[in-house]
Symmetry: C2
Amino acid sequence: MQQAQPLDRIFLALADPGRRGMIEQLARGPATVKELARPANMRLPSAVKHLRVLEEGGIVVSRKAGRTRTYAMRRDAFSPVNDWVSARETALDAAFDRLAQAVADMPEEE
Amino acid sequence: MQQAQPLDRIFLALADPGRRGMIEQLARGPATVKELARPANMRLPSAVKHLRVLEEGGIVVSRKAGRTRTYAMRRDAFSPVNDWVSARETALDAAFDRLAQAVADMPEEE
DNA sequence: CCGATGGTTTCCGTAAATGGAAACTATTGG
DNA sequence: CCAATAGTTTCCATTTACGGAAACCATCGG
């Protein structure tokens, strides 16, 4: 029983369509919990939980002013995703290049 | 009860450290189920399930020859992720630009 | 001060993910 | 044909995710 890694939380946060919808909205500008709950077709308690997942994933930040809490995207929200994916793509391209080279080095048949 | 969307399956597939480890291995070249199970410290049945998740997410493909099944990465494995993330980053950059512009347009204080 | 509002927490039921044991199938090697 | 091997399926137990109802807390408006 070990605590989840950062990438675990980020990808898990992105794996839910409701949360991705919230991200799409927040990418256009900050919003309160209520403003995020309505278009996602959720009750407030569900919205609060989803937003906590997004915040624990390091995707959004929030600040409470009075009785309203406002959420906003982090500028580096997708950095871990981009870094991890880029590294895999680099390795993947190299692997395909090696394969292509091996094919080119094969003696022709007939 | 609606079937999961493609992005749901992809992000869910990436949310597990064992599966990400398999991806890192496969990005360096194809491998069989057994070869993937050992470094991931899994039994074969678990490996089979994880690999099915990766395949249903469109991240890997497999082919069975004789009694061994070989897995390989798809070249466009991360295209949906890159597309979705890029779109959000574009919107996010625009939102921050608008904010910066609004700040620049504010009358100076004292 | 009182009611309405925005948010939060607790509790509950349902659904899904995870992991392994065991049993089964299909192929390979001798 | 027999034994070992690679994979697959089924079953089971544990854990976690998900969504809403209800109750609770803090704050704003009059």
